[in-house]
Symmetry: C2
Subunit: 340 residues, 2 copies
DNA sequence: CTGAAAGCGCTTACAG
DNA sequence: CTGAAAGCGCTTACAG
């Protein structure tokens, strides 16, 4: 059962392939009658253009690539959803790859996407990524690329981000406003820009409030997991009994910490207040519910695709692309892990 | 900056395109010397075959399509991860589409994937899907398709599933064994096979234990959300004060119910015991932690791709494909929402 | 308004 | 061992 081709239609109708092609695409230089005839037959035969041939001819596939550090992740999966839904609206399909926070994998996957000739690429960088040649190489080939969430400041492509520094400042200020005197920070890994910015926001808030910044209160770790949250909660209890507030880099770790503190009989928020980051769904279901920074994942995905789409269109028209930084708003969601 | 083609290499080397192509593919009928020369030049020029041309020639794209009801979902995102990681190992890329539990969207997306000529399709059906012509049509075209989790018994393709009936039986039996006398069931939507099977497992367990099955204790709802869990928890308290156990179709709804019961001062598990389904990550973090059925999402994704891959290979060799049903093991995870 | 022809970049059956 | 040629199915510049 071979698929129907233009040739099949042209033979049945006794006209040329050229005319069939034009008729199907609604070109004006085909008679109304021919056009109607062609369209009708195409319909009844359920003709579908061979995408492979179209791709080869037009040098575009209406497919984009997406590289993301982790899929089983509330924030990132929301971003994916935003990207896919927006892409579908514009007739684009999305190939998804997961870097597992590994630079090597990220690089290999980027290569793979390029060799598959996707029209453009959306990427959120792995924690392990410190060198960006694999990204700039692609930009140099003229392939549109948009970064989101985990970006590199130094790379001159479009980006969709939040103001991590400001959001972290707000989170820390909230701890201070609700009476915390000694505030720790679960910072996460060293490299990624948003770890850095969240840390800087935390530090700035302390300084602006005349509180001394104590490096020993900043906990660094590579894996942002529930278990890490439990572990550092225990560390706090043994190393820094005077800590009465923690600003945690991400909700999942904060939830691990809450679970451990609950287990140890620490009263949250009275003994220790906690603010997370991202507003994962879980944050509202845990006891006590987690005060956190709401980070608009779905929106971010939508915006990232929209920007890529703009660049795809600009490229087709051979227009110059000026990189754009799109910053989305965040807000503090007050719940029960901080005092009111 | 045009990409390098076979022609570029052949011209630089003064040999034919045919020979270059063969040399690159390691065909034996090329002299060692020529092969080495070609490979070296290809390397230095960073030659990448034009995937569009290869696709057209070979009529395959090494790309598969995946249609899933929802992405922001712990179980499904685990499945996606399993699929992608396995596909990557075998050199396949995955295009992901989300049906939002809608039959119309699912149908449209299936069409889209076919017209993009993906090599095969992986699908978990939408709740709204009651007719399967869109699926069988594709099978009739000889395109391999594998269903997972939310399947249709009537469709004769390969499937990766769990034994929902048995798992639900185990869950209900556990409630009975720990002393529950009147057990409700949050069933979810009517159509999907796994809702049906979980309900049947629940019913069977009651009957086998000499407990009367009471239809008024079975709650049906379309959206499997946290909010629905809260709502039906309230309903139970007002409609059936004698209920002392609930078997819930999925963890998310169970967690909503727990949250509402906590709020109303109902003691879990003493007043009401709850068993969920799926073992979402959240289930271990909530208070009380949720007893549930562990459903291996990552594994399911891996198996689904593996089966599709087998069928892809069989198709290439023009071998007949015999549909296979792959059943994965589940187990009860006892936590604190049921008595011990 | 219609169509013959070229070409996208590859692969492969075939001839030498 | 090498290469000319056909062909995958489409699109589009060009001629009539």
């Amino acid at each position: 059962m071979k698929p129907i081709t233009l040739k099949d239609i042209s033979e049945k109708l006794g006209i040329s392939v050229t005319t069939v092609s034009k008729a199907l695409k609604g070109y004006p230089d085909v008679s109304k009658k021919t056009r109607a005839l062609v369209k009708e037959l195409a319909e009844t035969l359920n003709y579908k253009p061979n995408a492979f041939a179209v791709n080869l001819r037009t040098e575009e596939s209406k497919t984009i690539g997406l590289i993301i550090p982790e899929i089983v992740h509330h924030f990132f999966s929301s971003v994916i959803k935003g990207i896919i839904s927006q892409a579908e609206k514009k007739g684009y399909l999305v190939i998804i790859l997961q870097s597992n926070e590994s630079y090597d994998l990220e690089k290999k996957q980027l290569d793979l996407l390029v060799s598959k000739r996707v029209d453009g690429i959306l990427i959120s960088l792995a924690n392990g990524t410190a060198d960006f040649k694999h990204i700039t190489d692609i930009m140099d080939q003229g392939k549109p690329i948009v970064m989101f969430d985990k970006i590199a400041k130094i790379v001159k492509c479009s980006k969709v981000i939040i103001d991590d520094r400001k959001a972290a400042y707000t989170a820390t200020q909230h701890l201070i406003d609700t009476g915390c005197k000694r505030i720790a920070h679960f910072r996460g890994p060293l490299l990624p820009q948003n770890s850095i910015d969240r840390f800087l926001g935390y530090k700035k808030a302390l300084e602006d409030n005349g509180m001394t910044y104590d490096p020993s209160l900043v906990y660094i770790f590579d894996d942002m997991t529930f278990e890490v949250g439990e572990m550092f909660a225990r560390k706090i209890l043994s190393e820094h009994t005077d800590v009465d507030g923690i600003f945690v880099n991400t909700d999942l770790v904060a939830i691990g910490a809450i679970t451990e503190f609950n287990r140890q009989g620490v009263n949250i928020p009275k003994d220790i207040s906690i603010v997370g980051f991202s507003n994962w769904f879980m944050s509202s279901a845990i006891t006590p519910s987690l005060t956190t920074i709401n980070q608009p994942g779905f929106e971010m995905g939508k915006m990232a695709f929209k920007q890529l789409y703009r660049e795809l269109k600009a490229k087709k028209k051979k227009k110059q692309i000026t990189p754009k930084i799109i910053e989305l708003e965040t807000n503090l969601v007050q719940r029960n892990s901080t005092r009111s």
